[in-house]
Symmetry: C2
Subunit: 431 residues, 2 copies
């Protein structure tokens, strides 16, 4: 790793320079590079696994938390999965060069809006070394350079992975400089300040970590700090179906950001719904907390104000009885994180109002919040899920890693011709 | 104006509440509201002009700079123009409710991506009171609430305009609370801190002002601090055509952000091109500054390093001789602001390389940089021009004021069905 002998800014500029050429590489050249990377990773597997073993031994000695240790550990199967991921990214449609708008402004004056790479991505992740492989593949496919900063505990693994990626790229037309690994802790903060060199930050890690990143950079951040998702069970809900949706939304993978945290229940259906729901949740060892109205109907722990703002990421759910659709929407817009919120109802008008007025990236009707996911949406790959309001919002595929530019092709056209006495008029005809 | 008796956060929350209902208003309801606003502005014209006269008198007494005074002054013709603008915004296609993606994920499980308003806009502008009218119309059309903060010098005018807008809205189904005017200077900074209530900041004013806003908020900003645009005259340029493009790019409206500031000339064509260009620019009273190589060919003032980073917004242009296309691209990517850069060449391959490798919102071939404009692009209305890399980029129409949400419609679908032994598979069929 010669990287350490350069300053971070120099590394970033070198990555940006390499990215300028990657930006105009053909889809074939990028896919060949991805295949070369996959093969180099396969060839270097023993070194990578050995490096990971060192990281794991160091982590065990220093008493790393079990959850982090599980993410740090890279066995042969996980590595094979990551390599398969590189090939599946290669198989995706190329996101660069898509003509989004094609318009004649006047005879011989033609405007195109064409998708193009962002430039350089900064990706900061905790523990998980396989993130290196996935992110590098997505960056190359989308024509972007990438600065990778992994957790200190994964240092050996990340270095071995990037070494293999560089080896793969060195046999192709794509410069190995498009992927750079940052290795010192100080570089995380420094990276967040590189607004001139880095165009998008992607943080991968805990909510606290993502929030830290969001609060410490002016570079756009693709990610979400929280996933406080709701299910509202309307008075016109199908009780059995609503119970199934509630259970799936909570227990199918409680650590996921799209798992439900709060279930809102219309007062008119609460006496039927809650006695059906509680045993179904308890059968999956879910701890249920309820507001006062819920407690009068079923035997559950009390929920406090803090529960409405808590992402449990665990087998815990809070229940609140509401008097109306409006009260449910208002609760969600106040306490939700704008991630995904669902309604269970047989009333189409009610569902429509809910989906229009709830301010979230995903608004669902009669299905589990767990469907909020790039793969389930058919986006091919998921770069991240964004809870910001401006696009890209929700699960983001490769299109989150590209932007566009306007290309205007003339034949000596000047603006003066379109003003004054004999002014030409624009035709504005889509082609 | 009862606004002053509330705190800014309360005003913003009230605007957000009103915006939730505006978000689901029909296109007809929004257009009727815009017509009512136009009529109320017409009816209140005498009051508005009288208020503006007061502002102008105060401004003259305090010695406001002539350029600001010109923007502050609102005469009958300017007001009529602004009112006509409201009706033309009403005539635009509705940006809300567009289905951007429609996909069956599985039988009975249908995903839609639908455009929807952002929520609440914060618009901060200097002097120009007619901005109130234009921005309020764009906000209503796009279904957004708006907090308006004008310069202190335009206070009476802005209050009279917003009073009329409120009067108009009060006769419609749209709440007058969707448009709020902030009046104290302290509120500008406070507005920039309202990340929970405001979803997009649009600054209108000088470069310094826009930069101040960008550096003092975490809310996304739609705007650009600088427009340092380039024209590169390639060795294969048509000299006469390149001269015309250069002159138009500089003199057609030198104060515009899309006017050219630096002309780069390939060394091989400089001896023919420069002697043709200089008199053509001088005929329009343009001050020409050149690097050493330029000075050896034509008699011009010397350009210094600072010239390459300067937006003159005036009849001044800097010229630099470059040795190659690569040198031109590299100069532009270093000194440009990513706004609009053009190439003059008869070589199609050279043009393509330039348009691919120059990192700007607009990359033009054989036409004036002055075409970079929402109206000329046929976007209907121009909300602003953005030089950020992420979309929206370049001239931004109404679509810059909307985002999207994913609506998923199921029939009791749960994610557990798609895992395990008898896992269902997604169909992912576009509808």
């Amino acid at each position: 790793m010669t990287v350490l002998t350069y300053s971070l800014t120099e590394v970033a500029q070198q990555t940006r320079q390499a990215a300028i050429h990657l930006a105009v590489a053909s889809p074939q050249a990028k896919n060949q590079a991805l295949e070369a990377v996959a093969q180099a990773l396969e060839a270097s597997s023993p070194d990578i696994l050995a490096a990971n073993l060192e990281d794991c031994q160091r982590a065990q000695a220093s008493g790393l938390a079990p959850a982090l240790y599980a993410r740090l550990k890279l066995d042969a199967a996980k590595l094979e999965g990551a390599i398969a991921g590189v090939r599946s990214v290669a198989a995706l449609p190329d996101p660069v060069g898509t003509v989004q708008l094609h318009r004649q402004l006047d005879t011989g004056l033609v405007l195109k809006r064409v998708s193009c790479p962002l430039g350089v991505l900064g990706v900061i992740f905790e523990a998980r070394p396989d993130a290196v492989v996935q992110i590098a593949a997505l960056a190359i496919k989308s024509g972007n350079g990438v600065l990778l900063k992994g957790g200190q505990e994964a240092l050996q693994s990340c270095q071995a992975l990037v070494k293999a990626i560089h080896k793969g790229l060195s046999q192709t037309d794509i410069s190995a400089n498009v992927v750079a690994l940052l290795t010192s802790r100080e570089e995380t903060l420094a990276l967040l300040n590189l607004d001139q060199e880095v165009n998008l930050i992607i943080p991968r890690g805990s909510n606290e970590f993502v929030r830290f990143v969001q609060e410490n950079t002016r570079i756009p951040v693709l990610g979400h700090a929280e996933g406080i998702c709701h299910l509202y069970v309307d008075q016109a809900a199908d009780v059995a179906q609503a119970v199934e949706i509630a259970v799936d939304s909570k227990v199918q993978y409680p650590a996921a950001c799209n798992a439900v945290e709060t279930i809102l229940v219309h007062a008119a259906i609460a006496p039927q719904f809650l006695p059906a729901l509680i045993p179904a949740l308890q059968a999956h060892q879910v701890e249920v907390r309820g507001d006062t109205a819920t407690q009068t109907l079923v035997s559950v722990k009390p929920a406090t104000e803090a529960d409405w703002s808590t992402e449990y990421s665990d087998l815990i759910v809070a229940i609140k009885v509401v008097e109306s659709l409006e009260a449910a929407i208002s609760h969600i817009n106040q306490y939700g994180s704008g991630h995904t919120d669902a309604i269970a109802t047989t009333n189409v008008q009610t569902a429509e109002l809910f989906m229009n007025q709830v301010d979230a990236a995903g608004v669902f009707h009669n299905c589990s919040t767990r469907f909020a996911d790039g793969f389930r949406y058919g986006l091919g790959a998921e770069v991240g899920i964004s809870t910001q309001r401006l696009p890209p919002r929700g699960p983001v595929g490769l299109e989150g890693l590209v932007t566009y530019k306007y290309q205007l092709q003339g034949q000596g056209h000047i603006v003066a011709s379109y003003s004054g006495l004999k002014a030409r008029t624009f035709t504005h005809q889509n082609l």
